[in-house]
């Protein structure tokens, strides 16, 4: 694995070049990852709190048209929506965020290959940043990640001293990308970045995902689900801020009698009408069943199907929950 060094000043120049080359540049803000116009505003802070929303909206938008249609007398004319082919560079992503593409790739390339998603991911460069933030909701280490994990990053930044970052080249895509900007990088010193990484405090491992998986298989009808369900308010905050929740809804939107578009919008399994059938029957009629589905999908079904936990351990869902439902605590209690 190749490693380079870049100074803080050059990092800004590097970003300026990215913007100047017409790429989208994203960096974490307080609420969400923002499109950056002026790179000097970027604050790279390993101790910053994760943004409230993840950056999945840039590859799997909260709302996107997938086709347009015009109604004729005898038929319908349809036109596929196209994906903007602009390259997007995300800067300073937390390791718990970067892992999301690895997980999402599996579902979006399973029986149907989602062109919209794949096209965007192909044009996405992820520059991860080591993380030194940790609060009671973090549990990346419990789902096989860590604050220094390079999983999913194309390039990974580790601050080695006050003025310099080590840049680890993780993928060929990343290598190719910085090729054009090589003037900003100098030769690396892997031992320094190793030392910096070792100093990072790792969140405690809260649960063993294998045990949880086993327990979930045996306890579908456990009374605890109703207990959580009674407190949960059935919003989709947890699903929508999650870096890997991927349910969506297809809606046709007319804008006149004859034309319209088909939209693909985020949907959340905690909504009461998510599984409501046209007949009026609702297989997940109470919140307890819906919450059970959420946990099972993340820690059992997805594992069964793709051998991957549908969770990056970022803790966003718990951090933002209006009634403080803590997924880590619930999953940690999924043992005998």
């Amino acid at each position: 694995m190749d490693e380079k060094i870049i100074s803080k000043q050059n990092l800004v120049n590097f970003c300026k070049d990215i913007v100047a080359n017409g790429h989208n540049l994203l960096a974490p803000g307080k609420t969400e990852y923002n499109l950056i116009q002026d790179p000097s505003e970027i604050v790279l802070d390993t101790k910053s709190k994760p943004t409230k929303a993840s950056y999945k909206t840039f590859v799997f938008p909260k709302a996107e048209p997938i086709l347009y249609y015009k109604r004729g007398k005898n038929d319908v004319v349809m036109l596929d929506a196209k994906v903007d082919e602009k390259k997007t560079v995300i800067f300073g992503a937390k390791p718990c965020d970067t892992n999301s593409f690895n997980i999402l790739n599996k579902i979006f390339n399973w029986d149907y290959k989602d062109d919209f998603y794949n096209e965007r991911v192909k044009n996405f460069i992820v520059i991860g940043l080591m993380c030194e933030y940790s609060d009671r909701y973090c549990f990346c280490t419990s789902v096989g990640s860590s604050p220094v994990s390079e999983k999913g990053s194309d390039l990974f930044l580790v601050p080695i001293d006050e003025n310099n970052y080590a840049v680890r080249i993780v993928t060929d895509k990343g290598k190719e990308f910085i090729g054009a900007y090589s003037k900003y990088f100098t030769e690396g010193a892997p031992e320094k970045s190793k030392a910096a990484e070792e100093k990072v405090k790792q969140p405690e491992v809260a649960f063993d995902s294998k045990q949880v998986h086993e327990w979930l298989g045996k306890n579908f009808e456990h009374p605890k689900w109703d207990g959580v369900g009674d407190l949960c308010l059935s919003c989709a905050q947890c699903a929508f801020v999650c870096p890997v929740c991927h349910c969506f809804d297809l809606v046709d939107e007319d804008y006149s009698y004859t034309e319209g578009r088909r939209m693909k919008n985020w949907d959340g399994c905690q909504f009461g009408h998510f599984t409501l059938h046209a007949s009026g029957h609702n297989p997940r009629d109470i919140q307890g069943k819906r919450y059970r589905q959420r946990i099972n999908h993340k820690f059992k079904y997805y594992v069964d199907k793709f051998d991957e936990i549908l969770c990056t351990g970022c803790g966003r869902c718990s951090r933002g929950c209006a009634v403080s439902i803590d997924i880590k605590e619930i999953v940690a209690n999924c043992t005998d």
Binding site: A63, E64, K70, R71, G72, K73, L79, Y257, T258
Partner: protein, 166 residues
């Protein structure tokens, strides 16, 4: 406004018992009023949900008139009284959100006030003409619409006309 030929689209939600009949009277009395206004008859001004207003704006209305019976004249006794409280809030809310006052106007027009109906409609049309097209709302509409010019030209005869589409 800049475009001399621009004519505003006005939607009027009117109650069946007073304003609609008033509009009828304007017609039978051979009174002239601007043709920009499209009347939508509802049973009572109390039955006009504010989402109707939003929908009309979404579909490109530049101005909206809501009109019903005078206080105490409601066919259902109190529909317009309930409406009055609700519209007070809705009007304030839209104004706060940046929709100019004149875009959404309210009136009481009775069945015998054909002349007043003409005056009210003329005033709304003039006010909206003064303000020009409702560009702010158009911006909301424009999202995800940009790709439409790329649509292949299709045979115009193939497209259903609005009248036929019902």
């Amino acid at each position: 406004m800049s475009d001399k030929n621009w004519e505003p689209k006005i939607v009027a939600f009117v109650c069946n018992w007073c304003t609609y009949t008033g509009a009828d009277l304007a017609g039978t009395s051979r009174l002239k009023y601007p043709t920009n206004v499209k009347l939508i008859r509802v049973m009572c001004s109390g039955g006009i949900d504010p989402v109707f207003i939003l929908k009309a704006f979404e579909r490109g209305a530049d101005g909206i008139l809501v009109s019903g019976c005078h206080p105490n004249d409601c066919h259902y006794n109190a529909g317009n009284f309930h409406a009055r409280r609700r519209w007070t809030f809705f009007d304030e809310l839209l104004e706060y959100l940046g929709v100019e006052k004149g875009r959404l106007q309210f009136s009481w027009v009775s069945a015998s006030e054909g002349k007043k109906f003409v005056d009210v409609v003329s005033k709304v049309v003039n006010d909206v003409k003064e303000m020009g097209p409702f560009k702010s709302y158009d911006e909301l509409n424009s999202e995800f619409m940009t790709k439409f010019p790329d649509m292949p030209e299709i045979d115009k005869n193939m497209i259903i006309k609005e009248e036929e589409a019902v």
